[in-house]
Amino acid sequence: MDRNSHYFVRSVILLGFGLFIIKLLISGDIYKFIAPRMMPYMYFALSVIAVLGMIQFFRSGTEDEQACDCGHTHDLSISKGRSLFVYSLFIIPIVSGMMFSDHVLGSSQAMNKGFKYELRSSSPSEEYDKSEASSPEDGVVSEESDDLLEDPAILSVSDRYPELQKEFQAATSFTLTEDNYIGSISLLEDQADDYVGKEVKMNGFVFREDGFPEDRMVVGRFGISCCVADGGIYGLLVQGDSQNLSEFKNDTWVEVTGIVKKVEHNNWELPLIEPTSIKKIEIPAEPYVYEEFEFSG
């Protein structure tokens, strides 16, 4: 291939990338790959790709072999086989992206990544000591003051979601939405005691870890901070024999309503939902939830 046709193929590939991004933007599938807060970067990329593509296109018609006199090596591959390989590397993501962009990660990835315990500030053993040492009424207060004394730099989950916490503590029943999903589950995992007995309504897909009893499953969603590759599972245990849980297979999307309880799971004390009703739902248009970066200290 000569220089000019290289430029032409490159401009077509850049156009392909542009089309891919535009297609994702139109269909909304872009949020199945990256978080909304990364969108400005995508628009930047799209416009740069458009400009580069145009430049490559016009360059392909005008430049003769010796036009670049700045003496450095542009790696325009010599052999036909090699350039075929290199260009197919670029073509693969464009083609597979435009064909299979609506896939959503499910239970097999959730099992790979495991349950997300991240927002718990203490190790399991400490947690147990505390909950056994203090009575439920004053437990909350003493725990908070302990933390403050131990390390002033520690910021608890309730500091992170102050309004959400107020709202939930006041309510007798609450619903998890896209916007409060991560916050609510963090709060529930942090101080399950505060919410025991309340009614919760949430949706998510079903998955089970190895060794779960038959009447136990997790309902959760992937939480994304930048792109799907860094996603983690946010979910709650659902357990109870009032509903036939085994009829909800892994990867089914469900809406669960139930009462918050506490349970011991792998030496962690975790919140659990005892379901009063479960129903199958369609997979939502935005199946993932996203990390909030706003911080109202």
């Binding site: 291939m1 046709s5 891919f20 990660l105 495991g114 997300k116 927002l119 500030s121």
Partner: protein, 330 residues
């Protein structure tokens, strides 16, 4: 001449037609075609595409800064800002690293260009390892990811600073100022260009480099997605979470996951409880400095031997420093 061109252009047109075809009809193909073979392939494809999509803006940014340096920065200007005393030269390097808000995909072409323009090797390497960590965006994301334990964010910055300086020192003592780029030294000699030419030249450089680098990015993303899809995390905690094994396991993970330094804090925080703080710090410091995707990018520009020694040096220094930190401060 004209005849030959059109025959080669043919492939471009076929490709163009293919893209438009898939753009319009791509969704009609049922994805069950793939799921019947293996459902994991679709997971892999999604993770692969998300890494590529996330990295592209930053690669473009890096490529552009690199092209601007190539076209507009003169060798003499660069030399004026870098002290001739090699150890002293590390300080402006770390400062540059801290000011440049670029992540690890973007920094490789920039550093390569700076070295090409006459920046001493060890100074370039210090920028390469410090810029992806020592920057405000990464500090903020670490801060948010570890809200319950703010020491992590500070320790990450502190360890990264110390580690980059040590790496710079070792690279200097081992390699001095030898030429470690693949290209011959002094190839770039710019004749007088008009301003307009320079601008279009910048764009030409940028798009050439996008294709040079893009292929390595795609290979790296592909490998990383395969590992992410098929490796269960439980495996890691089985391998070891002890004082010595923990940081080693997490560094291995950081290497193979090849996450963006802006996002890795969130992944690290999901390992809290499974691994010690020093292991998490090893993950957070090591990953941005070197990982699978970056190794492939670096191998495109630097000599293989140098890339290998670089990885060994970074690994040893990060491991030792995090263990020392664990002993004395945690």
């Amino acid at each position: 001449m004209y005849q030959e061109n059109t025959s080669n252009y043919k492939w471009g047109y076929i490709l163009l037609f293919l893209f438009f075809l898939i753009f319009i009809y791509g969704d009609l193909l049922p994805s069950t075609l793939i799921t019947d073979i293996s459902p994991a392939i679709l997971d892999m494809n999604t993770i692969f595409l998300s890494i590529v999509l996330e990295a592209i803006p930053f690669v473009l940014l890096g490529v552009f800064v690199s092209a601007l340096i190539q076209t507009f920065v003169k060798e003499e200007t660069l030399a004026r800002f870098i002290p001739s005393q090699p150890i002293l030269a590390l300080l402006p390097a770390v400062t540059i690293g801290a000011i440049f808000p670029v992540c690890e995909c973007a920094i490789v072409p920039i550093v390569r260009r700076l070295i090409q323009k006459g920046m001493p090797l060890h100074v370039g390497i210090v920028i390469l390892v410090s810029a992806p960590i020592l920057n405000p965006i990464v500090f903020l994301s670490t801060f948010y990811a570890f809200q319950t334990d703010l020491t992590v964010a500070w320790a990450r910055m502190g360890i990264a600073l110390v580690v980059s300086l040590i790496i710079g020192g070792i690279v200097y003592s081992r390699f001095g100022n030898s030429w470690q780029l693949k290209e011959e030294k002094g190839l770039i000699t710019h004749g007088p260009h008009s301003y307009r030419n320079r601008l279009s030249e910048t764009f030409h450089h940028a798009s050439d480099e996008f294709f040079d680098m893009g292929k390595f990015l795609i290979i790296g993303a592909l490998l990383a997605s395969v590992i992410q899809t098929f490796m269960a995390r439980d495996l890691l905690s089985d391998v070891g979470s002890g004082f010595l094994a923990g940081p080693a396991v997490m560094m291995g993970l950081a290497y193979f996951l090849s996450l963006c330094s802006e996002a890795d804090a969130f992944v690290a925080s999901s390992f809290k409880g499974l691994f010690s703080t020093s292991s998490l710090l090893a993950f957070l410091v090591y990953g941005p400095m070197t990982d699978l995707k970056n190794t492939i990018l670096m191998a495109a520009y630097f000599r293989k031997r140098f890339v290998l020694s670089f990885i060994i040096i970074v690994t040893i220094v990060v491991y030792t420093v995090t263990l020392l930190f664990d002993l004395f401060y945690l």
